[in-house]
Symmetry: C2
Subunit: 340 residues, 2 copies
């Protein structure tokens, strides 16, 4: 193993000089810098992570806490995890994967041991027990999702309210007047999942504003449940021509059921999905959908923790940010003008 001292000897300087060359924290002459850098390459030196962490009191690691199972579409979680990892590397950081089966202890352990300098929490609940733990330890963190009380923390999430509003606007623009909002299962609303509630209220507000009549129905996302939901919607409001779906599982069944009930999409009924692009593309017809920028979510979360870590290490008080990312409406084949 090559150490700092080896490099110093090889370059004919002291260990601290090598350290300063590497960290850039003090001015070093051209000549010395060159010699040191050459030696580093020649010897294949890699600073020892443990020693560095111990001396500098910075591990250059952030922990990413991923949910074990969730309502979240799995490829999206993976995309976030990857964008977090790549963004972290830009800052010279690595990412430690923590699964949520450890619960609060995982976060505590990783922060208290100095294993991680900061934490990113995915799939945050409104009233998340990990949040007080983070606050108690003074751990720098960024949440992907929006809890009840975010003081002392930074958060980033999709702007679900805007997404809901976009759906309403799009259908209204196309002349639809009767809309059905097919949402998540009742349980999701009962536990006040933020994304579900915010989408719905954003949709509701805009729908009212645009004079739309609408029905919100929760749906478990199975074929049977979707069939039941759709039947009731059409019984209550036979003139419904617009559908907003926020439930990955219900999309496929809904399309099949509309078709088999003799309604052609988009001629007879328009469907807007709140789902990832990937999913929207894979149905036939391809779905008009409102989507949030997934990668951005990870990137922003990393910027937030990084900002907090450097602020804290400078003795400052990190500022709590709250970033809501604008969703994007992509018009595809599943929406069209309302039938007359």
């Amino acid at each position: 193993m090559v150490t700092l001292a080896d490099v110093a000897r090889h370059a004919g300087v002291s260990a601290s000089t090598v350290s300063y060359v590497l960290s850039g924290k003090r001015s070093i002459s051209q000549e010395t810098r060159r010699r040191v850098e050459e030696s580093v390459v020649e010897l294949g030196y890699h600073p020892n992570a443990g020693a560095r962490a111990l001396a500098a009191r910075r591990s250059h690691i952030i922990a990413l806490v991923v949910p074990l199972r969730s309502d979240v579409y799995v490829p999206i979680m993976m995309e976030i995890a990857i964008s977090v990892t790549m963004a972290a590397r830009q800052h010279g950081y690595d990412v430690l994967l923590i699964t949520n089966d450890e619960g609060v202890d995982g976060v505590r352990r990783v922060a208290a041991s100095g294993l991680a300098d900061g934490v990113i929490l995915m799939d945050v609940e409104l009233d998340d027990e990990r949040i007080p733990a983070l606050r108690a330890q003074g751990t720098q963190a960024s949440l992907i999702g929006l809890p009840d009380n975010a003081s002392g923390l930074s958060c980033v999430d999709h702007d679900f309210a805007a997404a809901g509003a976009m759906c309403a606007d799009h259908l209204a623009d196309l002349g639809h007047r009767e809309i059905a909002f097919i949402g998540y299962g009742a349980g999701v609303y009962q536990r006040h999942a933020g994304y579900a509630e915010r989408t719905l209220s954003g949709f509701r507000a805009r729908a009212d504003q645009r004079g739309l009549r609408f029905l919100h129905r929760s749906c478990e996302g199975t074929f049977e449940s979707t069939a039941g939901t759709l039947a009731r919607v059409l019984a209550d409001r036979p003139d419904t021509t617009g559908f907003v779906v926020q439930n990955e599982g219900a999309i496929g069944p809904l399309l099949n059921l509309l078709r088999s009930s003799g309604r052609t999409v988009p001629e007879d009924a328009s469907v807007v999905a709140l789902c990832p692009e990937q999913l929207a593309e894979q149905y036939s017809p391809r779905l008009t959908a409102v989507t949030g920028p997934t990668k951005e979510l990870g990137r922003v979360a990393v910027e937030q923790v990084m900002g907090r870590i450097t602020a804290a290490s400078r003795g400052g008080r990190p500022t709590d940010e709250l970033v809501l990312l604008d969703p994007v409406l992509t018009v595809r084949e599943s929406t069209g003008p309302a039938p007359r």
Copy 2:
């Protein structure tokens, strides 16, 4: 921050005694152990990861290298990542996520800096450039996948040959005589992807043995490509009644095309998929499928690195293991007796 010394003082013993209580590496009296453990809890002591890594020359971290994009169905990757993380925790290890955009350097960096004690590589290619790098550094590693030359490494993978054979057997048992094997795109076979070749040769051998006639056709996994492939298969061999599909993208199209060509599944044609359970369940009819145990893949990989790490730290030469996991055939609704 609470340190070892704080605990020692609080318990009225020396620092080394506390260390030995925690590591269990020397015998400690009941009484002392109790006092120390109490102090640990009372003070909320968490050993500092950096210091521990430095002194013990063990970071208690393994790196997991995930592919950025791949032929692998994403939720499966996530499932592996999670099972790796959980299995690692059982050994007191944490998992560092490395994306493959760093390429070989990522592996080198993480191992050379002592950040990770071992590495798990996912999505290994037959001739993977990261393998020589691992060997050169003497890094303990386990590969998920089977490279050309695995000497000095441990590997774990699904037994794709057995999976292929299972498909052949199942269809033969049901009386099918003409089979089409719908595989991955031509590119996958051209670069000799191990899983594709091994499945095919396992299938081929068993099909020959069972006296099946079969056609192997590569397919890009789009609707158009699947349509073309199927048309050609049916033109060449109109009597084909059994289909084996190893291509996530082709499954949906294939089912639709069979249906629209007037063939009912499973009455007129049987379909066996080589795909994750999750996928097999989501089609209608639900697919008879051959699946490998995903979680096991991660778990075994972890056991392998752990084994190697401890062997190496005892001065031994870690043994190279090669584990192939048995696939499982789950009969669902897409296969039935061959029509007469």
